[in-house]
């Protein structure tokens, strides 16, 4: 899906937990997420901390969309 949408002309960021699959599929901008059943959250955190965590990942996604890439790029934690 990532590839087809990108082919149509949109920059796409793939936010997912199993990065090797995303690399095989051919996503160009990849942001690793927390866990398979809750990529944008962590139920062990307080709601405030969880929101902050989610916000951080979304920011990383936006950053990826704003960054020119040459080939497949995984946007890891600094």
């Amino acid at each position: 899906m990532v590839k087809e949408i990108e082919r149509a002309g949109f920059p796409v960021v793939h936010a997912c937990t199993v990065v090797p699959i995303s690399l095989t599929v051919g996503a160009n901008r990849i942001v690793p997420t927390v866990a398979i059943p809750h990529p944008f959250g962590d139920p062990t955190l307080t709601p405030e901390d969880e929101y902050k965590l989610r916000r951080d990942i979304v920011l990383k996604c936006l950053d990826a969309l704003s960054t020119e890439v040459d080939g497949q790029t995984v946007f890891k934690d600094e």
Binding site: I5, E6, N28, A35, G41
Partner: protein, 345 residues
């Protein structure tokens, strides 16, 4: 050589520990066969024997790669096997990846053969096929009956010290051999056949890489319109379009106009391939709508597309996914979207 000693790697489901709610169990080992090992052991009776089974939850393995790899490898080693069997994993995404990673670990560290079974579209097959004899299987456990004899046939060959020449997905490893004629002659023969319009067989089929170049980045995110797409199955509460829990035949398009925050009463997941508890409690964990709406309010992004698109990426065919995505892309174009966040579970 005595009986060939086999260690079998399976996931929590096939070990009977539990389904998705148990996908987080760490590695453990049990003596003898467990689950599908019964049938495999029976099919190789007399020449080989499953001496131990190593089990790990699918999510645990994929989320704790290094630790899980170390533990699983140690457990496999402890049985001093002659051969390792992984799966079969059919078209299960995380299980297929785990089977592939175990195959790689064994291949690189223990230098013994690995036999497994995966469906042709399983991403684990594409990535790890060179590390094992993977027999091609159907896409679900209903084809176990065909997979077991195919796996057993390869085990028997290996146990008998014979060369395995068929019944598995080509590993993509080059082997040297002596041909009757030199390369230049063979190449010219092929060329002549091609010119004459006759059929010829290439000696090196070119791999097909379906890659798409990255699109240009968004210049100013503060004015950009962002859209959300997901293969994690996020749907309005009640799954109005009845998107299937696996092998999805459709996708849904849902309005975000009145949603500012997902709670347990307005969203859920239709995905049958992971523990749905966390997503059903708060769907923002799969589709971060609360954060994006707040960002629109704060002017951190221009706007959020009024709809989200969702399907279930669980054993769903590549052909279906492509078709869904092409339709979704048309919609996004019509609405002037600048960039897409695609979330997967």
């Amino acid at each position: 050589m005595g009986k060939c000693k086999i260690v079998h790697y399976i996931n929590q489901f096939y070990a009977g520990i539990g389904g998705e709610e148990k996908a987080n169990v760490p590695p453990e080992k049990r003596d003898g066969f467990v689950g599908p090992g019964l049938a495999i052991n029976g099919a190789v009776e007399g020449v080989a024997e499953i001496v131990g089974t190593v089990i790990c939850g699918d999510s645990y393995f994929n989320e704790n790669l290094e630790e899980a790899s170390d533990k699983v490898l140690d457990m496999i080693k402890s049985y001093e096997p002659d051969l390792v069997v992984v799966g079969p994993g059919f078209n299960a995404g995380r299980y297929g990846m785990a089977c592939g990673m175990v195959a790689k670990l064994v291949d690189e560290n223990l230098n013994i053969p690995v036999v497994g079974g995966l469906y042709e579209e399983n991403p684990g097959l594409e990535i790890y096929k060179r590390h094992a004899y993977f027999v091609p299987t159907g896409n679900s456990a209903t084809s176990m009956r065909q997979a077991v004899p195919a796996i057993a046939a390869i085990i028997k060959k290996i146990a008998a010290g014979e060369k395995v020449t068929e019944g598995y997905v080509a590993k993509g490893v080059r082997k040297n051999y002596f041909a009757k004629e030199r390369g230049s002659k063979r190449a010219v023969d092929m060329l002549l056949k091609k010119i004459a319009g006759e059929e010829f067989v290439t000696e090196y089929p070119m791999p097909v890489f379906d890659r798409v170049d990255a699109q240009a980045a968004i210049k100013d995110i503060k004015t950009a319109k962002i859209a959300l797409v997901s293969s994690g199955g996020p749907v309005p509460k009640g799954n109005p379009d009845r998107i299937e829990a696996s092998s999805a035949s459709k996708y849904g398009k849902y309005s975000l106009v009145d949603i500012f925050d997902f709670v347990s009463s307005n969203g859920e997941t239709a995905h049958g391939g992971y523990d749905p508890v966390y997503a059903n409690e708060d769907l923002d964990r799969v589709l971060p709508v609360d954060v994006l709406k707040e960002m629109v309010k704060n002017g951190e992004i221009g706007s959020l597309h009024d709809y989200w698109y969702s399907t279930v990426g669980n054993g769903t065919s590549v052909a279906n996914s492509k078709a869904f995505a092409a339709e979704i892309a048309e919609d996004l174009k019509a609405d002037g979207v600048h960039g897409v966040i695609l979330t997967s579970t």
